[in-house]
Every structure is written in C-alpha cells, then in structure tokens.
C-alpha cells in the first residue's frame, strides 16, 4: 500500500528496448556489397533502387550548380548538402505521398524526392522572396532557419493528423547542433506524450558550423536522447542509402500504425563548408576531409547497383543528363532573376485588409515614383 507513491510511475515500462543499438545499422559496405539485416529488410524493387540513385545524382549536380551560382553572385549564400545525399534522399523515400516533410535549410535531397523545383528553394538564398514553393502541393514545409523550431511544427501537424484519424506521418530534419535547442526537447516531449506520428531525423554531420559534436552533448550518441522521451532511438550509417531507407521505413511504419514517434540519428559528414560564407579550414583538417570522402554515399550506391547489374552505362549517362537538365533549369530560373515587386512586401503580412498596411504601402509607392535624388523636390 504505502509502496504506491514511490512505485514506478504510471505508464512506466522496462527500458531495455529504449536503448539504441550499440552500432549504427549499415547494410552496404563501401564497396557496395549488401549485408542483409533481419530487423531492417530493404523492401525496394529494382526501379526504386535506381530512382534513389537518380535522385542522389541529381541532388549533387544541383547542389554544385547552386554553389556556382553563389560564386557568381547570383545567390547571397547557400548551404550545401554535399555528402549528405543518401541521408536525405533515402529517408524521404521512406515516406508515402500523403506524409509531410519539415526540413531545415539543408535538405535539397529531400526536396528533389518531393519534386519541389530546386530553383524555388534557391530563391530563398537569392533573396527573391522568403520562400517560393507551395508546401501543400508537395507536402514539403518551408525551409526553417531558426534551429530546432520546425520540430515543433512537425509535432503539432502530426498531433493534428492523429486527432483527425488521418494515417499520415510527418518527418522533421535537424542537425546535431539542433539537438541542443530547447525547442527540439519540447518537440520530443510533446510527441512522446501525445504519441504523435512524427519521425525526428537527425543528420549528424559532425559539425554545427565550426562546433564539433563533442561540444553539443556528453551523451554517447544522439540516439540516446530518445530514452528521455520514451521514444525508440535508432541509428544508421547515413552515407548508406539502403540502411537509411530501411531504418527510416521502420520508424515511419511504426508511427503510421499508431506505434508513436521515433528518433533516428543518421551518421554522415558535411563535405562542403557550412555555407558558402564559411571557411572550414579554420576548424577541420584536410586529412579528415579526405577520410570522409572515402565514405561517399553516391559511389557506394553506384558500386552496389553495378554489382547487382542494375546500372549500365546508358542508365548512368541518362541520370547524368537528367542532372544536367535540372542544373540548366535551375540556372535559367535563378540567373539574373528579376527582383519582384517591392510592393509585394505588404501583400502577405495579414489576411485582413489593414489601413496601416495600406498607408505604408502607399508611402513606398510614392517613394518609387518620386524623382531621383537631387531632382526637383
């Protein structure tokens, strides 16, 4: 009787299953050989395997184009996903069409899978507007710059789906640094309590700008954070597209079937600078970079597909051409793209018509039509 107060709290359960596996799941060796894992079957037909490779190839080419465009002054800044293509493409591939993606600012690979016009995302970096795609059309939320904040939006959206008995799942992307923010904590707290169908996908690319993971947490791995929220914590080799797909797929299916949220840590590496404004030579060595290059996800997938005889030169060339085609489209859309109408600054602030907004709009309109400075005032 007197035991009850101090007995394990209501809803408590054994915790062994909460601990992440000691080793990240890896199915593809760097040379492309497949080592199956009974808990993580790769249910992908040949066509899908090729489609994932294609998306990664396109992602990398568009990523390079974006960097070029920035160098040519066509973009203000750009955050490259070089080296993280598998983590992004394969994880988004694990979703179904009705599911939603809540990206940070680096998920070009996920956008490619969701068939968001890459140029629409790049307009944000060019500064044409603050975003330029319809999130409802692609079920791909706006890029989110304040670290960690989007985790709460994904959680709230998933809560809504659950209240509505809608089987969709949301997946939110953030980085290793993002796990330190209070909002990420509150999101996983809400998700656990509400059993919201959301998958928290951490791309651990080893750095938050210049700050290494060791300055973000003393936890053995980021997947261990799941324990504190009653979520399963999963880990995968984020440069292994098949492992990333299989692990994410499992979490997504569990969430969809009412099994609740999950946290996935994908181990990867940011091959480029944090953004085009960054100088990584100040905080990481050439050796580290070369070493990381050996785990390149696209080469690994290529090796695998060739071993399976799925990827002949013609197909590979086809993908390369498609990638060039994407790059060309991006270039055409971005290069010297017009600024847009300054008066639009007043169009979307409120749904309601407001006299104060109209008055300031009129002020700008007058400024735009005023004679140039020095002219007759």
């Amino acid at each position: 009787m007197a035991e009850d107060v101090t007995a394990p709290v209501e809803g408590a359960r054994g915790d062994a299953h909460l601990l992440p596996p000691a080793e990240p799941v890896r199915l593809l060796a760097p040379d492309g050989t497949l080592h199956e894992h009974e808990d993580y079957p790769v249910e992908l037909c040949d066509a899908e395997l090729l489609a994932i490779h294609r998306a990664m190839v396109i992602t990398r080419r568009v990523d390079r184009e974006a960097i070029n465009l920035q160098r040519q002054g066509q973009l203000g800044v750009y955050a490259s996903c070089l080296g993280q293509e598998a983590a992004q493409v394969a994880s988004t591939w694990a979703l179904e069409a009705p599911d939603w993606v809540f990206p940070s600012y680096r998920e070009l690979g996920s956008a490619i899978v969701r068939e968001v016009e890459p140029a629409d995302l790049l307009h944000l970096f060019r500064g044409t507007w603050l975003s330029d795609h319809d999130p409802y059309e692609h079920r791909f939320a706006l890029l989110s710059i304040p670290i960690g904040t989007q985790a709460l939006h994904a959680t709230g959206f998933a809560m809504g789906a659950r209240f509505d008995d809608n089987p969709l799942v949301t997946m939110v992307y953030f980085g290793d640094g993002g796990t330190s923010e209070g909002d990420t904590h509150e999101a996983m707290t809400f998700a656990g309590v509400m059993q919201a169908p959301v998958v928290f996908f951490v791309q651990n690319n080893r750095y938050a700008i210049s700050v290494p993971l060791t300055s973000q947490t003393a936890a053995p791995t980021l997947a261990h954070k799941a324990v504190g929220y009653g979520l399963p914590g999963l880990r995968c080799d984020g440069n292994d597209p098949l492992a990333t797909y299989a692990v994410t797929r499992r979490a997504v299916q569990q969430a969809r079937s009412g099994g609740g949220p999950a946290l996935i840590e994908a181990l990867t590496y940011r091959m480029e600078a944090h953004t085009t404004s960054d100088d990584p030579t100040r905080y990481r060595s050439q050796e580290e970079l070369e070493e990381a290059a050996r785990t390149d996800p696209i080469q690994r997938m290529r090796n695998h597909l060739q071993r399976r005889g799925l990827l002949d030169e013609a197909t590979e060339d086809g993908f390369a051409q498609e990638a060039e085609e994407h790059a060309r489209r991006v270039r055409e859309a971005i290069y010297d793209a017009p600024h847009g109408d300054p008066l639009e600054l007043f169009d979307h602030v409120y749904v309601a018509d407001r006299a104060d907004v109209a008055a300031q709009r009129a002020q700008l309109q007058a400024e735009l039509t005023a004679p140039p400075e020095g002219g007759d005032r």
Binding site: G156, G160, V349, A355
Partner: protein
C-alpha cells in the same frame, strides 16, 4: 443577464467549439482544472480531451505545436497561463507565428488565438502581473486585441477565433470578475475599432484593457472638478484605430494615454507620436502618459503605488489643462 468577463470568454470559447469542431483549446491546466482562472471551465467535460487538453509544461512547445496544428487545418486556441510565461515562447511567436504567412507568400494561414491573462492589480507574485503588449504590437504580423468589458471579452474572443490571422488576445486578469448586464451572443459590428466610451470636451483619455474602468472612474471624478473627459477605449492595439483617437483629440485638443505597461516604448509612445503628427495644429498641450514606471513590476504590497490610478490620470489632466 449579468456575466463576468471570465464567464463571457468561457461562453465565447464554448460556442466557438460547438460551432466548429476544428477549434481546439489547450495549454497548462486548461483541461481537468478548467484553467487557473476557470476561463476554460467545462470545456474538456463537454468536448472531450482531444478538443481541450493539458499540455506538457513548455510554452514554446504550446505555440510551436499550435502552429503545426494550424498548418494541418485546426483553429488552435492556446493559453499562456500568465503574461510572464509567454517569454519562453517568444521565438515561436515572433519568428514563426507572426511571419510564416508572409514567408509563404500567402499560402499558409495561421488562425491561431493566443490567450494571455495579463496585467497587475491582483496582488500576485512576480512574473504574474506583466503587461507585454508592446512586444507584440512592435511585431508585424500579429493582431493584438484586449477587452475592457465582458461584452468585448465575448466579442473579441469570437472574432479572434474566427480570424485567419494569428491573434494575441490579452485578457485583463484583474477584470475577470467584473460583471455587466449583457445579451449574449453579442452580434453587431466588429470590435476591432476604437470606441468612445464617454463623450467629453476638455481632454481625451486613451485607454484599453484593465485601464478602461479606471479611466471611466477618472472621468467621473474629473466631472466633479469641472473637467469634461472623453474616454476612448482602443480595444485593438494592432491594428491601432488612429482615426478615432485623432478625431477625438482634434475636438478636445488634449490627450492623456493610460496603460499599466512601463512608460518607455509603451503604447503611449506610439499614440503620442501618431497624434502629434496627425493633429499637430489641434494640440493645445502635449500628449501626456499616465503609465507604470520603467522598473520591474513591484511586489504586491507596493503595486498600488506603481499602477496608474485615478489620481495619476487627474494629475496629468490638470497638467494638460494648464497649457
């Protein structure tokens, strides 16, 4: 019938939930307890714990999930338990709730109502008597309203929930128990324009929320001293109905703005700036401000010295009349 402000808001929430099952009410202790001020009393019992539920103790989480719920298609009514506890949610309110629609070029709508019991005068401990309105009004993208009467409490709540823009609903907690005889539901014109609550000739008193009653009391007291005060209740702080205020000042030539919030960059600053610009040649005295002081909110036993009251208003009326 006679209802309190708290009852009027409760009634508005109940009717909004009954008429639209996309309306959700959540926050800390709003479910089983019915809220620390009982404003959400009975909602969980009537609509179930999917429509009205308690959240973890995390304000940024409450606003952030409200944004996600709104993106999904719900109309969330999120309660911040007290004014001082909106601050942990500041980033979600300012960087997302206020800006997401604009960021999305109009494709996203965030019909989120954030209910905040605010202001002092109830003898509470620190952090429970803040007047944070300036933080929200300075932030483009937010609609900010505050009722001064039970009738407006009902109407502004219904309008906030019906709005497709995010609305900060500031509830003057010291007036929760203020009663008035009204017919509910309140139909009639939108309440987001300012209202002349008492006509007068000498000085315009601009007020809102908890100070509406105080201003009307000051007008009574002033009448005995032979001053005729016109009392303008703003009701909406963003947008700000400058026209009604300016029209009144053009008549009276004098204005005193009253609010609990600290003076520097309080609403009085913005109103003074607009009035001196729009009624420059009509002003017979500068716009004066009867406000709280530029100090942290005081301990309970000293709050009466800090808060604007009839005397402080009349002092400034006298100063304005002396010009």
């Amino acid at each position: 019938m006679s209802v309190t402000l708290a009852q009027a808001i409760n009634r508005a929430l109940t009717e909004a939930m009954a008429q639209d099952d996309r309306v959700l009410v959540f926050g800390e202790d709003v479910g089983r307890l019915g809220g620390v001020f009982r404003v959400t009393d009975g909602l969980q019992a009537r609509f179930g714990d999917r429509r009205c539920f308690d959240t973890p103790l995390a304000e940024s989480g409450i606003i952030g999930t409200a944004i996600g719920l709104a993106m999904y298609g719900y109309r969330p009514v999120a309660e911040m338990q007290f004014d001082g506890f909106t601050y942990p949610a500041f980033e979600q309110i300012v960087s997302h709730l206020a800006k997401l629609r604009n960021r999305s070029r109009g494709t996203l709508r965030l019909p989120v109502t954030v209910r905040i019991p605010y202001g002092g005068g109830i003898g509470a401990v620190e952090h429970h008597s803040e007047s944070p309105e300036s933080y929200w009004v300075h932030t483009a993208g937010l609609t900010v309203v505050t009722p001064g009467t039970p009738e407006d409490g009902y109407a502004l709540t219904r309008e906030a929930i019906a709005s497709d823009d995010p609305v900060i609903l500031l509830e003057p907690k010291r007036r929760y128990w203020m009663k008035s005889d009204i017919e509910l539901p309140v139909t009639a014109p939108p309440h987001t324009s300012a209202l002349v609550r008492r006509a007068g000739e000498d000085v315009t008193i601009v007020c809102y929320g908890p100070m509406v009653r105080t201003a009307l009391e000051a007008a009574e007291a002033a009448a005995e001293e032979g001053w005729s005060l016109e009392v303008v209740d703003l009701r909406s702080l963003s947008p700000l109905d400058t026209d009604t205020v300016v029209a009144s000042v053009r008549r009276t030539g004098r204005a005193v703005v009253v609010h609990e919030a600290p003076r520097t960059l309080g609403m009085g600053a913005e109103i003074a700036a607009r009035v001196q610009e729009a009624a420059f040649y009509h002003l017979e005295a500068p716009v004066l401000r009867a406000t709280g002081f530029d100090t942290p909110y005081p301990p309970a036993k000293l709050e009466s010295y800090w808060l604007p009251d009839v005397d402080r208003i009349l002092d400034l009326v006298e100063r304005a009349m002396a010009y």
